[in-house]
């Protein structure tokens, strides 16, 4: 371990920045601005060093990969959601140092491997999305550039989602045969991976809706073919797990079905999917009458948003709108005020007040957080 790494481990320990599975044991340290600034400074400095090939070659065999990953996770707490990609070099280097050193000692921590893969999925999707969003900020606007960057982005996303499904299958189908520290840690990894895939599907559908008006017919055709193939495959792979694991996974699965159904019906050849079928699917995802825990109620907010928007877009469902409004307000009251709660509150109230919703804002705020 190099002296810089020794300092890093000491720094993290000294400020009570400790890992808990794939997250942090506590967030108390983040309340202190000085510590937060130091976490940010160290993470970005290390990230810059890692971009240097010579640094990577010199340090891979001895780097304290656990501390580097922990520093990256701590810094993610401080960064805006859409800047998670800044930690990509840290997670990538921590992962390769881990594999390198595992080879030398002849034993590997399978949890660490899968944790890094999950973190890298997050940073890669974020990096690709940032390139897309940057292309949208060109002055004067360049729709053809945006469409071109989007086609790269959508291919990247579906490749990463496909990789992630494979990683999920390794854990779900073969996890029992792998050498995990405990079955709880394996189950937690499977749960996190399923959540991440569900979130990625939600995000890419929002992003396609955002960019679709700028695409040429051949680009639309390619996008929809990719979406049909990859989303169907992902939902099929997740199905046995999502349906039987918990109320949260059930809600997320039903919400995915509803969102994807609306998407294909609205834009493409899914018009044979009846309005009432979609509405029934939305009702299944909203679970209005169920006594849910606040965190599960929170998970229904996206379905509430989809249902109210769907009602307003279809005059045939006018009679359902009042109930959709009432249920969404009830869900907002009962939901835990976590993660993107404020965004859901804002979007639902805009629908209730018949105010327009910007598809870019919708994508930015809901693509990376369940």
């Amino acid at each position: 371990m190099s002296s810089a790494d020794g300092d890093l481990a000491e720094f993290l320990r000294g400020h009570n920045i400790e890992s808990d599975g794939n997250g942090l044991a506590n967030f108390d340290w983040a309340q202190d601005e000085t510590i937060g600034n130091e976490v940010y400074r160290r993470a970005l400095a290390l990230s810059m060093n890692i971009l240097n090939e010579e640094y990577r070659n010199d340090n891979e065999a001895s780097a304290d990969y656990k501390s580097i990953k922990l520093l990256g996770i701590a810094c993610l707490q401080l960064l805006p959601k859409l800047e998670a990609h800044l930690m990509d070099p840290l997670f990538r280097f921590a992962h390769s140092a881990f594999v390198n050193q595992s080879m030398h000692v002849g034993v590997a921590d399978v949890e660490f491997d899968h944790q890094c893969r999950g973190l890298l999925l997050k940073t890669e999707l974020c990096q690709s999305y940032n390139a897309l969003r940057n292309s949208m900020n060109e002055t004067p606007p360049m729709p053809q550039l945006v469409a071109g960057v989007f086609m790269i982005h959508v291919n990247t996303c579906f490749e990463r989602i496909s990789d992630s499904i494979t990683a999920f299958k390794i854990l779900y189908e073969h996890g029992e045969k792998m050498n995990f520290q405990s079955s709880e840690s394996k189950d937690e990894l499977i749960f996190q991976r399923a959540l991440q895939i569900s979130q990625s599907i939600r995000g890419i559908v929002l992003q396609i809706e955002m960019v679709l008006p700028l695409l040429q017919p051949d680009q639309i055709k390619e996008t929809i073919e990719l979406a049909q193939k990859n989303i169907t495959s992902a939902l099929e792979s997740l199905h046995p797990y999502m349906v039987g694991n918990s109320s949260l996974t059930f809600i997320l699965q039903q919400t995915s079905f509803a969102q994807v159904g609306i998407f294909f019906r609205k834009f493409f050849d899914g018009s044979n999917l009846g309005i009432n079928s979609v509405q029934e699917q939305l009702n299944r995802a909203c679970l209005d009458g169920e006594a849910l825990e606040p965190q599960d109620k929170y998970a229904t907010l996206f379905a509430q948003f989809l249902r109210l928007r769907f009602c307003q877009e279809h005059p045939e469902l006018k009679q359902d709108e009042a109930n959709a409004i009432h249920q969404s307000q009830k869900a907002l009251e009962e939901a835990m005020k976590m993660r993107s709660y404020n965004s859901y509150d804002d979007f639902l109230n805009r629908l209730i007040n018949n105010e327009p919703i910007n598809s870019i804002q919708l994508s930015d705020e809901l693509s990376f957080s369940i």
Partner: protein, 117 residues
């Protein structure tokens, strides 16, 4: 540069060793023997590997480590250059037996679009 297996590499490997006690890999000049219940393996391997064999050996070895297996024993086999010679010289396989083992290995190989060509 350290080889980092993709999820597809790991999935293919876990399917390849699933319900098998041994796994011969001609491209890696190696034969693995598994004790699945204890997540361990021993490996017979060509002592002086070519660069290609070394690369494939490193790849499969890394994949197994990342699936939670550890090596209990490595037997370096001198005087052989291939898995075929290894089977014949160290396990007394005949030509026919080697051929059958090779065909069986191909038949039992998990599907992977990368090997379709």
């Amino acid at each position: 540069m350290t080889y980092i297996p993709t999820a597809q590499d790991l999935y293919w490997t876990v399917q390849s060793i699933h319900q098998k006690n041994s796994w011969g890999i001609p491209s890696a000049g190696s034969i693995y023997f598994f004790d699945h219940s204890n997540h361990r393996f021993k490996v017979y391997t060509v002592a002086e590997k070519s660069e290609k064999q070394m690369n494939f050996f490193t790849g499969t070895y890394t994949n197994l480590l990342l699936l939670g297996y550890t090596e209990s024993n490595r037997i370096l086999c001198p005087g052989v250059k291939s898995t075929k010679e290894l089977l014949m010289n160290f396990f007394q396989f005949s030509d026919d037996e080697v051929e059958r083992a090779y065909v069986k290995g191909i038949e039992m190989r998990p599907e992977d679009p990368r090997f379709d060509e």
